[in-house]
Amino acid sequence: DDSKLDQLKSQGFARVAIANEPPYTAVAADGKVSGAAPDVAREIFKRLGVGDIVASISEYGAMIPGLQAGRFDVVTAGLFMKPERCAAVAYSEPVLCDAEAMLVKKGNPKGFKSYEDVAKDTSATIGAPGGGTEEKLALNAGVPRERVIVVPDGQSGLKMVQDGRIDAYSLPVLSINDLMKKANDPSLEVIAPVQGAPVYCDGAAFKKGDEALRDAFDVELAKMKKSGEFAKIIEPYGFSAAAAVSTTRDKLCAAK
């Protein structure tokens, strides 16, 4: 049934969760929400008859619980699709795809190429957003819990690498590049992509039970992908439209 969509239409806006991690999501100095994921969502909701989106910034870890608690109608934050997440929420078709990267000190003193390298060096610590993909990748690669430092936001991660509190900070490639651009710090270096880490794609994440809304979203998304408007929105941010078109939700959710 379309009751959720009707409800959004009548209230005139959809509540989205974002992370304030450019270029995926960003808040401008005037407080306006931008970034690739919200821009796509805004356009699609407009086509669905929902005038605008209202964003709240959230930690990655809080997004899915917040969705379940009804705090947001949809998460548009670069929350990559993974089988466990597919089980917890209803994803749209892929929107933004990116590989993983690491931020390290200039010259990569510890010689990291993959998460496994971090695991092997028993003195190495790696920072990642709490509840984000990178945290799980590191843990799965065998880095023990106490060496995976949960960092609240990108700026803090950058600062902690600069201060030598952590040896590497991991985020998707484009996010790291954006951080580097702002910091403009020659003492840092980006390793991208991280070896052995798959390319991930995110989708708009809906609450389980809102599949009807998700399906309507998918229809508009497909239309935009076909017409090229999709590429027009995301490519200025550095994302590849082709990558998103070349894969599907079913593939990503099944991947092991």
């Binding site: 100095a29 005037d30 407080g31 917040g66 705090r71 990108g154």
Partner: protein
């Protein structure tokens, strides 16, 4: 070049949210303080027990936990709250529990002889409380209420963790946008301090006004 003026605007927006939270939280806290504080002094066991349970629960669990509970868990059991409502609710109930003890202590600090004078003048329980005990007790409560309000102001910073765009939250946003940590944090520390000074100044002048004519009696 960084657009500081734009970011200052963000921070001031955050200050507004902080002030709003502090005011609404204080009102809720004040109401709860009198309800629970007087409830604890009630003759009726059920009221006393209820008030005690409220006070011990909210003083016992961390404001932090209460906030997360209100924000993430209450909706799961069917209580929908906006972040602002969740923030005001958690802050007001938490600080209200502390302030309730202030109310109780202040009422009890009014000597037994005042209660006895009320009985000797045949005032009813409520009349005595309303006209004799509370006006005196309120003066005793005021300074501590001021401290409670400052505690509440400080606790508002925690709501940034449930994505309410208060001062601390906006400082984080500015930090993410500009890559500068020192400036936004120093700015908000100063704003918080000014707000705290305003509160204590306000409470002190209220106290002075109310204490007029009472010199040397109490406090």
């Amino acid at each position: 070049m960084t657009q500081w003026s734009g970011y200052l605007g963000l921070i001031l927006q955050g200050a507004l949210v902080t002030i709003e939270l502090t005011l609404m939280g204080s009102v809720l806290a004040l109401v709860m303080a009198f309800l629970a504080g007087l409830g604890r002094l009630s003759r009726f066991f059920a009221l006393r027990a209820l008030a005690t349970a409220y006070i011990e629960f909210f003083r016992g669990t961390s404001i932090f936990v209460q906030l997360f509970f209100a924000y993430f868990v209450l909706p799961l059991v069917g209580f929908e709250l906006t972040p602002l409502q969740a923030g005001v609710l958690a802050l007001g109930l938490n600080v209200g529990a502390y302030a309730a003890e202030v109310v109780r202590g202040a009422v009890q600090s009014i000597g037994r002889e005042q209660h006895e004078a009320c009985i000797a003048l045949n005032l009813g329980r409520w009349q005595g409380l309303r006209h004799v005990i509370l006006p005196q007790a309120f003066l005793v409560m005021l300074p501590t209420f001021g401290n409670n309000a400052i505690e509440l102001l400080k606790a508002t910073s925690v709501v940034s963790l449930i994505s309410l765009a208060d001062l601390t939250f906006q400082a984080q946003v500015v930090r993410a946008q500009t890559g500068n940590t020192m400036v936004p944090f120093t700015t908000i520390l100063i704003i918080y301090f000014i707000l705290a000074l305003l509160i204590s100044w306000g409470v002190r002048s209220l106290e002075r006004r109310m204490a007029r004519g009472l010199d040397g009696v109490r406090v």
